[in-house]
């Protein structure tokens, strides 16, 4: 079945059809939510609530880019959680737990331990750098540079003007670059600026 057929079927209440759509986009949705919320549990909540809301509001989908429509709902769920967390700041106790039950990254069996370690270190550095950005910038840079959304799709998802998307993206990239510059020991030589003051 094509995506349009699945959507039509889901609109009639077929959960299985909607789940087919979920299988297509859940990894993308979780990735965006995780990198936006910086918390796997909150991200899972946002994604799950987003999918349920999407299913309930599927009749409101008038065609067009379903991926952008779905991600807009998930992103809005992320913003809702961020607002709630801002009102009720909490400190996760997960970091106190010993042992990791869930690795955030997929592993590549072809990768050597050294390569894996290096990739993880760089990945963690970038993820941490993303976490230092404001939430609205995080969403834009993740959608654009991690998942390859177009400017127009991002504008549709975030419901912002194109100029706002461009502005946020440039500031997010600049901010992340500045952050990485402060930890340039993990970066290639070509990435390090000659002037340390910059």
């Amino acid at each position: 079945m094509t995506e349009e057929e699945l959507i039509d079927s889901a609109k009639s209440g077929d959960v299985d059809s909607f789940n087919q759509l979920i299988y297509t986009y859940e990894r993308l949705a979780y990735s965006v939510a995780h990198r936006t919320l910086r918390n796997p549990d909150l991200a899972a909540d946002a994604v799950q609530n987003g999918f349920v809301k999407a299913f309930r509001g599927l009749n409101g989908f008038r065609g067009g880019n379903f991926r952008a429509w779905l991600m807009r709902i998930v992103t809005n769920c992320c913003y809702d959680i961020l607002r709630a967390e801002k009102r009720r700041p909490t400190e996760s106790l997960d970091h106190l737990l010993s042992g990791v039950e869930h690795l955030p990254y997929l592993t590549d069996p072809q990768e050597s331990p050294e390569q894996y370690t290096s990739r993880m270190e760089l990945g963690n550095l970038i993820e941490t750098g993303i976490g230092t950005l404001p939430a609205d910038q995080r969403v834009v840079i993740v959608l654009r540079d991690v998942h390859g959304y177009t400017y127009q799709e991002i504008a549709d998802i975030t419901q912002d003007a194109m100029g706002t998307v461009k502005s946020r993206l440039s500031r997010a990239r600049g901010g992340l670059r500045d952050y990485l510059q402060q930890h340039s020991e993990l970066l290639p030589e070509t990435y390090r600026h000659k002037d340390a003051s910059l």
Partner: protein
């Protein structure tokens, strides 16, 4: 933000450049700059490398599948169960036991409107409490006593939801009462934060419609109905009199029973009446509102009298309060006899209300030309325990001091035609707002300004209550000298942010993304861009039509821009 020798090359341009979304002329401009300036070249390279790192980020593993169960129940409670982090979760669970009506009300109260309403009520309660409302500590005590009595009588046929919530709320009322007594003894205006919060909640309940008040009481307390000992939600309301001004000009004539409450002068008792009437509204659909009204009437009038009389009565507030609290919990009737239960409750309450009733009667005799009517109304209503109508409730902002509003409202409530369709209304007394403080974070800016326009009488006057928009400019061009220029006509009309000017023509925009903007004047849905104000006087003198320049405002992160007063001879 990294700098460059070529200040016109911004990171935004470079970011668009590496995505190949830059206009052709700007693209060429950046390419030339890269070749000419190593710093620009490094900035482009570092941005590209940053994007490359992001592209290579490892894919995240899913912690679980997010597929929906085949038997999914698409209700709010299901949503709530799925997310333990959603603030409404627990409350939504409770709502599953309610009808759609209660759930709707509950959701409304928990939504932004309810929150803001409570916050406003809290602010007002705090402000007025500090202003000396504690002098009514014994008034509060009497309120509690009377309302407890009336509520117990009135709600013998109440459903368990209200009863159980009232039970839970009784502790809040007890705390308020005790604290009020303490405050009275200390003759201080110190209000504990927790008490203030509870009182704020009480205020909001007191001025809500009947069903809303019940729903709110039910919402705020998650209790098991099966274990309910009855205490009426009226316990929530007595804090309101504390939030009223302290002056009580008893010389003001009492309003007559047929006087609309909207015309009645104000006094601390007005709030008491409002709270009492609201409470009466709450319990009226339940049968036996008459005794509730009677108790409320006694309470309000006697409280006014004592508050004005002397401070000796404050010494006994605590004792009386404890007595009331201890008598508050009464088991639910098992025989369903409303009349018997009502009489029993009346006798219990009368023991503690004797002094209040005497004071009230003395007060009525001395000050009220309508005392007879009021008493007659009380007596008449005392016998109509089976009445299930709702008291008409229309308390507007009182302007001056009516010491007898409570009596008038009560008697009017009993004498007036009773209808359930009447919507209670209450107006919150005006509160002087603090100066506006614009918070600016590091990533956004703010814009303020004042707009004046030539009035019909020839003077400059504020453009009051007008829609002013903020349109972001997207198109930027680089002239032959390398100077960046914006085209003020190129803004997204569908993405204009709007605000309204105040009576002084002041407008405020906050949380503005950095960029260039134009101001938009919206009249009847027609957007018109505001230009720079022109000195029309010179132009008129020279017989030259003014040619205003475009008004473009550049907003930077962390900065607040004030345009000052923009004076226009006429607006588009």
């Amino acid at each position: 933000m990294l700098s460059s020798n070529d200040s016109h090359i911004t990171d935004e341009m470079l970011s668009a450049f590496i995505d190949n979304v830059l206009p052709e002329n700007e693209h060429k401009f950046v390419e030339a700059a890269i070749k000419a300036d190593a710093e620009v070249a490094w900035r482009v390279q570092s941005l590209r490398q940053t994007v490359a790192y992001l592209n290579e980020l490892p894919e995240l593993a899913l912690p679980r599948s997010f597929a929906l169960p085949a038997n999914i129940s698409l209700t709010e409670s299901w949503l709530a169960r799925q997310s333990t982090h959603q603030p409404k979760a627990a409350q939504l669970e409770v709502s599953t036991q309610d009808s759609g009506f209660w759930s709707g009300l509950r959701n409304y109260l928990q939504g932004p409107k309810g929150l803001s309403f409570n916050a406003m009520a809290a602010a007002i309660a705090l402000a007025l409490l500090v202003g000396g409302g504690f002098l009514y500590g014994d008034l509060l005590t009497e309120n509690l006593r009377s309302l407890t009595n009336s509520a117990q009588v009135a709600t013998t046929s109440q459903n368990t939801e209200i009863a159980s919530n009232a039970d839970a709320n009784s502790s809040a009322g007890a705390e308020i009462e005790s604290d009020a007594a303490d405050d009275s003894q200390d003759s201080s205006t110190i209000v504990q934060e927790s008490d203030a919060a509870e009182m704020a909640t009480s205020v909001s309940v007191a001025i809500l419609p009947t069903e809303t008040a019940i729903a709110m009481a039910a919402t705020q307390q998650n209790v098991e109905p099966a274990n309910a000992e009855f205490v009426d939600p009226a316990i929530l309301t007595p804090s309101r009199p504390l939030a009223q001004p302290t002056s009580i000009p008893l010389s003001t004539p009492l309003p007559t029973p047929d006087m609309p409450l909207a015309q009645a002068p104000a006094a601390p008792a007005a709030a008491s009446a409002a709270a009492s009437s609201s409470m009466a509204n709450t319990v009226a659909p339940l049968t036996a509102q008459a005794q509730a009204v009677e108790g409320i009437t006694d309470m309000a009038a006697s409280s006014i009298e004592r508050a004005d009389a002397d401070s000796e009565q404050f010494d006994s507030v605590e004792d009386r309060g404890e007595g009331i609290i201890s008598s508050r919990k009464i088991d639910l009737p098992t025989d369903g006899s409303i009349a018997n239960e009502s009489m029993a409750n009346e006798s219990v309450a009368n023991e503690s209300m004797e002094t209040a009733a005497e004071n009230y009667n003395e007060f009525i005799e001395e000050y009220s030309p309508t005392a007879e009517e009021s008493n007659m109304g009380n007596q008449a209503s005392s016998g109509s325990l089976e009445s299930s109508s709702v008291i008409p409730f229309n308390v507007n902002t009182p302007q001056s001091a009516p010491s007898g509003v409570a009596a008038a409202s009560s008697s009017q409530a009993q004498a007036a035609p009773l209808t359930e369709s009447t919507t209670p209304q209450a107006t919150i007394p005006p509160v002087e707002l603090p100066p506006i403080v614009i918070e600016i974070d590091e990533s956004t800016g703010a814009l303020t300004g004042t707009i004046q326009v030539r009035q019909d009488n020839g003077t400059m006057g504020p453009l009051a209550v007008a829609y002013i928009g903020l349109g972001q400019l997207d198109a930027m061009t680089i002239d032959e000298n390398g100077v960046a220029k914006y085209d003020a006509t190129q803004y997204n009309e569908s993405a204009v942010r709007y605000t309204s000017t105040d009576n002084n023509g002041l407008f405020i925009f906050t949380s503005i993304e950095p960029g260039a903007y134009v101001l938009i004047y919206n009249v009847n849905g027609t957007q018109s861009r505001l230009n720079m104000p022109t000195d029309i006087g010179n132009d008129v003198a020279n017989n030259v039509e003014p040619t205003p320049a475009a008004l473009v405002i550049e907003i930077r992160a962390g900065e607040q821009i004030d345009t000052g007063v923009l004076q226009y001879e006429k607006l588009p």
